[in-house]
């Protein structure tokens, strides 16, 4: 039961409990609220044969794929926005046909929704008559079916529920029970977080429960769903965390300069991940207090 007395853990403690081969769902989107602190630690602990799922893949998943931890990706698309494509993921797709199961944003979200609702399938009108569907029929034939609605006769695609072994989501605010509130857009965070067998929250700020109770309509993830809380300010750097900090454009460019080529990616991993023992050391290496102050969000703008 996800209800121990002390749920606040270090990322190292949490990652130690993840077996090789696990299905991990990450809550980032392109360059926003990426689970960087989790990806770094998974790489430090050299996990392998992971299945990764995410609605719109971003920096957190690209890192894991680049570092060779991922044997299968279930995704709806993605990029690093104007900073470039997800080069590591794209290289994996180019070299290993069927390595990724490609859906769309909504269909991944519906797969998580089905998982979160405890129903093993859900119908949709997306993907019909596309090569996205053709490829799923080829590479993931057990995960999709066509069916006529028994009430209307309309043809639907049935999507199989996604139920990851462990989900991570980066939030702005959580209390020690895991009650979590998210500011800004939430993409598929809620459905994904509630679809998994385990759920771990990474939070910028640890707040008293009384703060949560002031605005409980904002609680997207209630504490009883949360197994562990990792408290890590700037834990999504270099991606953005609305109301807390902007993306770090310089570091994103530096990342893409390394990720562009297979040969240069290990330099990034060695220096910024394996070369640092935890996220505080990483933050110091990428500019420390001064740089974090530079990207800190302005009050009214939130970035």
């Amino acid at each position: 039961m996800a209800n121990d007395a002390n749920k606040v853990k270090t990322v190292a403690e949490v990652v130690q409990t993840i077996p090789d081969g696990a299905h991990i769902a990450l809550g980032g989107f392109a360059i926003n609220r990426c689970n960087i602190v989790v990806s770094h630690e998974l790489i430090r602990q050299q996990k392998k044969d992971l299945t990764l799922s995410q609605g719109v893949v971003g920096l957190d998943t690209d890192l894991l794929v680049g570092a060779g931890l991922v044997k299968r990706c279930i995704m709806g698309g993605g990029s690093l926005d104007r900073f470039g494509p997800v080069h590591c993921i794209n290289r994996a797709r180019e070299t290993q046909p069927g390595w990724s199961h490609d859906y769309s944003s909504l269909t991944i979200c519906l797969k998580y929704l089905a998982g979160a609702l405890g129903i093993s399938f859900i119908p949709t009108k997306c993907l019909m008559s596309s090569e996205v569907l053709d490829r799923l029929e080829q590479f993931a034939p057990d995960d999709i079916r066509k069916m006529k609605c028994p009430f209307t006769g309309e043809e639907y695609l049935l999507l199989k529920a996604l139920t990851p072994d462990i989900c991570f989501v980066h939030v702005q605010v959580a209390d020690r029970e895991g009650n979590s509130q998210i500011s800004g857009a939430r993409w598929e965070n809620e459905e994904q977080a509630k679809s998994g067998k385990r759920l771990v929250v990474v939070t910028e700020e640890l707040v008293p429960t009384e703060y949560i109770q002031r605005n409980p309509e904002r609680t997207i993830i209630p504490g009883h769903r949360v197994e562990a809380i990792i408290h890590q300010p700037f834990g999504a750097h270099p991606s953005a965390c609305f109301d807390y900090y902007d993306y770090d454009a310089d570091h994103l460019r530096l990342y893409v300069n390394h990720s562009k080529k297979k040969e240069t990616f290990p330099d990034y991993v060695n220096k910024y991940i394996l070369g640092t023992k935890d996220h505080w050391e990483y933050l110091d290496l990428v500019g420390g207090l001064k740089q974090m102050n530079e990207i800190r969000a302005e009050k009214l703008l939130g970035y």
Binding site: F29, N90, S105, L106, W187, E191, L301
Partner: protein
């Protein structure tokens, strides 16, 4: 005032396709610019939805992508995929989707997944994200694609998001929504024949030759008798684009003019 750029013509033409009060799902880049431009000119009550979970973004600074928090500014609702793409788009209430693409074919199908070079080597890009959802479900779809033979081929390297696949109707394809209504390029505005669904020239941009359009189109393009000249952006359009919407030429800059 500097010479009008092709990107500005594209954005203004796309903007004019949007009617006041319509509900629009909009991708990043030129689609977002077109939507913002429409809102600040003839369509102040246009509703813009971003798949990530943003309604009526009123960005003060140009966002670098859908996930850029600049895109959350002064929104009237911040929600989720499920709300935007499920409870709005899949529900069937979205009037228009505006999408960019790597490739578009003569039936308005698009590819946002991968490109193939002449040796058949594959290079992956973004994949569908909200593109397939939008193309499958919006009442009509506006495509914005740079105009050259490679980007407007007869056969796509990958059919990510369907228009009128092989000229078939949306019903035959088991799809909802009306499919593509316009393909807007840096040379022309193209429509789709209501019966055959075949790409049909609507207007050619000023200073572009019809022959150039035909020559740089990889698919068969129907040329009707009444091809017009695309209207230029108004001076106010240009002011808005250059001074307010994209002052740093993030999307409109000549070299960066990719959809």
């Amino acid at each position: 005032m500097a010479a009008v750029r092709a990107t500005e013509i594209m954005v203004a033409a796309a903007s004019r396709e949007l009617r006041d009060g319509e509900v629009v799902v909009v991708g990043i880049g030129l689609p977002l610019m077109a939507c913002f431009l429409a809102k600040r000119t003839h369509a102040p009550r246009l509703i813009s939805l971003s798949e990530i979970g943003v309604i009526n973004s009123d960005a003060k600074d140009t966002p670098v992508g859908v996930a850029d928090p600049r895109n959350f500014y002064r929104a009237t609702c911040r929600s989720s995929f499920l709300d935007i793409m499920g409870l709005n788009l899949h529900r069937g209430i979205v009037d228009v989707g505006v999408l960019g693409a790597l490739e578009a074919d003569g039936f308005g199908n698009i590819n946002t997944t991968l490109i193939k070079d002449e040796e058949g080597n594959i290079r992956y890009w973004n994949g569908s994200a909200g593109g397939n959802d939008t193309a499958s479900l919006a009442k009509r779809v506006i495509l914005i694609v740079r105009h050259d033979k490679r980007k407007l081929p007869k056969t796509l390297a990958h059919l990510t998001s369907p228009g009128f696949v092989q000229g078939r109707s949306r019903e035959q394809l088991s799809l909802r929504g009306g499919g593509p209504s316009r393909l807007i390029t840096d040379k022309a505005v193209i429509g789709f024949d209501p019966q055959t669904h075949q790409a049909t020239l609507v207007s050619v941009h000023p200073e572009i030759e019809l022959a150039d359009v035909v020559e740089s189109t990889g698919f068969e393009l129907k040329i009707p008798g009444d091809v017009k000249v695309t209207a230029l952006p108004t001076p106010e359009d240009l002011r808005l684009l250059r001074e307010e919407l994209d002052p740093n030429d993030l999307y409109l800059g000549r070299r960066k003019a990719r959809s």
